[in-house]
Structure formats: structure tokens, C-alpha cells
Symmetry: C2
Subunit: 208 residues, 2 copies
Amino acid sequence: MSALFQGISLKSKEHLLYTLESHSFTFPKNTSIMTVIKNDNIIGFVEYGYMQIIRLDANGNTTIIEELTEDSVFGTLLSSLNNPEYDVIAKEETKIVIISYDNLIKEEKVSSPYNRFIKNLWEIATNKINEKNERIEILTKKTIRDKLLEYFKIVSLKNGAKIIYLPFSFTDLASYLAVDRSAMSRELKNLKEEGFIKIDNKRITLLY
Amino acid sequence: MSALFQGISLKSKEHLLYTLESHSFTFPKNTSIMTVIKNDNIIGFVEYGYMQIIRLDANGNTTIIEELTEDSVFGTLLSSLNNPEYDVIAKEETKIVIISYDNLIKEEKVSSPYNRFIKNLWEIATNKINEKNERIEILTKKTIRDKLLEYFKIVSLKNGAKIIYLPFSFTDLASYLAVDRSAMSRELKNLKEEGFIKIDNKRITLLY
DNA sequence: AGTAAGATGTTGCAATTGCAACAAATTAAC
DNA sequence: GTTAATTTGTTGCAATTGCAACATCTTACT
């Protein structure tokens, strides 16, 4: 039994999936399931089969981000599936069930303060996961330069602007990127000299 | 208003905090709040003030893991506060409210399948956060050796054994640690030659 | 205002790492 | 069972990084 349905009877499960307007899909081996989950906030689980969340980088290399087996739970918020570099591939015939997030949190279902509270907790948790995913995305870059650029990219995308205001000191940034402060300082200097960025105090302007 | 109480009236909030048997505590500047949250699964939020979650490493260096300001939500599951290296310090006078996790998920409150489902989602999300925290803990180590040792430590603690069975290939391990595979291979050889580990196929024995 | 504490900039140097390239071993596919 | 594909082991070398040490600048505290 999936962790998703712990303590829920089979009958209740079926009724729940019905009221939440879930849909199930079966995918043949080596097909992408993105067609079904794109542009939609969803929670899904694997009824049977095996899938991989992979990242396709610019060089054409694929990295396995996550493996999903029977009863695995996945979703836009849980796995950063809104990242355009990611794809989800059924590596063998796989049946999944999808629940739209909007259906899950419809107001009539979360009318009691307790429900609402738990729903809020869920959202706080998924936000945390996103933060962690972002940091992991940065930390897995090989060089200090690439870590900096990834950090700039994420913050810039979030704010929709090429100007970034550092929310903490450069010392803290080095700690966040898990690199030596002086080495980071050196690399920032290189980026400045090569014309990629401009720094005034805590305001960083991206020139690319 | 905290994200925790979005869509909940002040009156309902107070009633909720009462039924969940919440407790509030006020800490003076520069005191640790661990006395209140140790050995207990909790969810808390900051009513006013400012706290830091810090890590004290063996060398006595402190790293800021997270900053908590007014309305910030924290907790054992959200922030890995069960890690003995972590401490939470009120950097100014801070008032917090603590809810015991056990009270939150008491069976009578999650009796409906829908509630139970959302509660399950919450647990899945917090498990993910733990996984991500573990990986971040590994990725922030400076050298390949330290990354390997941290990985071994985490897996070994989880299984309560000095013998680790790699759940994937060494190629995948290098990818998980975000290091070059050949460089990792070199470091594993060093660890073997220095008598720290023994490797037979995918079984790694820790000799320390 | 004056002092202490902390943040930032800089640099030489040694250690670690990524990269490339290849052989050997293992696993998967037909 | 043979062949192809993938994984693993190895090594030289160049590039990147951490470390240490110090000067300068900024901020916080009284």
C-alpha cells in the first residue's frame, strides 16, 4: 500500500479518488509522461511500473534525478517537475494516477480550520522542498563560477529582473554555495573583469 | 499573518491552538531554545523575534543553516532539528509557539479519509525534506573524501550497521555526490589503502 | 566619537579535482 | 553463447580550489 493511502480503506481510497477527480494513464515502455502533467499542478502515484525523472543538460547528458517505482508519489511541487530541463520517462509499462492539485484543495474540502491548517502545512513543506531543490541544483555545479551563475539565474528568474539584491553578506553567500570565501571573491572579480556582472555594494547586475 | 494560518480567522486560530494543546515560550537574547524542542516531534512558529538554526562542527565553527523571523515556521521534520550538531539560538528576545506533532495527528482529528490523505501527504513531504537535507549535508562537504564519509555515515546510521550495500552503481554514486567519477574512484582507492573501508562488489564495510 | 568586531579584497602556494583517454571487467541484449 | 553496451579502474596533467595570512573597509557598540 502506498504511503499516500496509509490508514485508508480500499473502499475509501476509491471513493476519495473519485471525489478528487483523479485520472489514470498507462504508458508504454520508453515514453515520456510529460504530456499528461505539463502545465498543471498535480500529485501522482505509480500504480505499477518504473519511471525515471531525468535532467537533459545542454551537452545532451542525462542525469537521473529520481526513480519512481510502484507506490512512489511524485508531483509538480514534490519533484520540481516545472523545471523545463526535466523529463519523466516510463522505463517499462507504467500505470499512474494523477490528482489535480486544484481539486485537492478546493475550498469546500478545507472548510474546517483544522483542514485548512494541515493544507497550509503541506504548502509550507512543498515550498521548503523547492528551496532545497534550488540549493541542490546550485551545489551540484562543478565550479564556483557555475555555482554563482546558477544562483544568479535562480534569483533573477524569481524576481524577473537582471538586478539582484543580495539578501545577505558575501561571507554568507560563500557559505550557502559551500565554497571558500576568498576563492569566491576571486571568481566574482573574474566575472566582473570579463564583463558578465557589475557589483555595487550588495546590488549585482547581470550583463548577459 | 503566518503562512500557517492563511485563510484562518483569528478566532479559529486561537481555538485551534487551544485544541492542539500548543504552548508558547519566550526566550531572552542569545539563549538556546533546544531545551523546549529536544526529543520531541514538533511544529513551531515565531510570534516575534529572530532566531538562527546553526551547526557547530568539530572545529568549533558555526554555520548558519536557517534564519527564522516573525511568522517563520520551523520543526523537527522541516528543519532536521533532531541532528545533534544543530542548535537553535534566539538572537534577540523571541516568542515561539510549539505544537506537538502527536497532538496534531491524533486519530480523532484525521478520521475522514480526506484528512488522512492530506496528513499522509504532509508526511511524504517531510520525508522528502529529510532526504534533501541529507544530500545537502553531503554536498556542502569540501572534499570528495568528506563527501564519501558523510554519505557512509548517513547510510550506516539509517541501517544501524557498519556494512553498506550500495543501492546503485558507483557511477550513480559519483553523480549523487556531484563529483567526477574517476576522481571518486581514486579517493575510494585511497580510503581502502589507508584501511578505512573494504569494498567487495557493492558491499562496503566501514572499518572505523 | 572612538574602539572593537566583523566583512571584504587580495595573493602565493599547495592540495584536490576534473578531464581525457584507455584497458579491463561486468552486465545486458539478441 | 556471442556481441555490444555499460561500468569500473587507472593515470598524467592542467585547472580550480582551499587555506593562510594580511590589509583595508564597514558596521556595531558603548
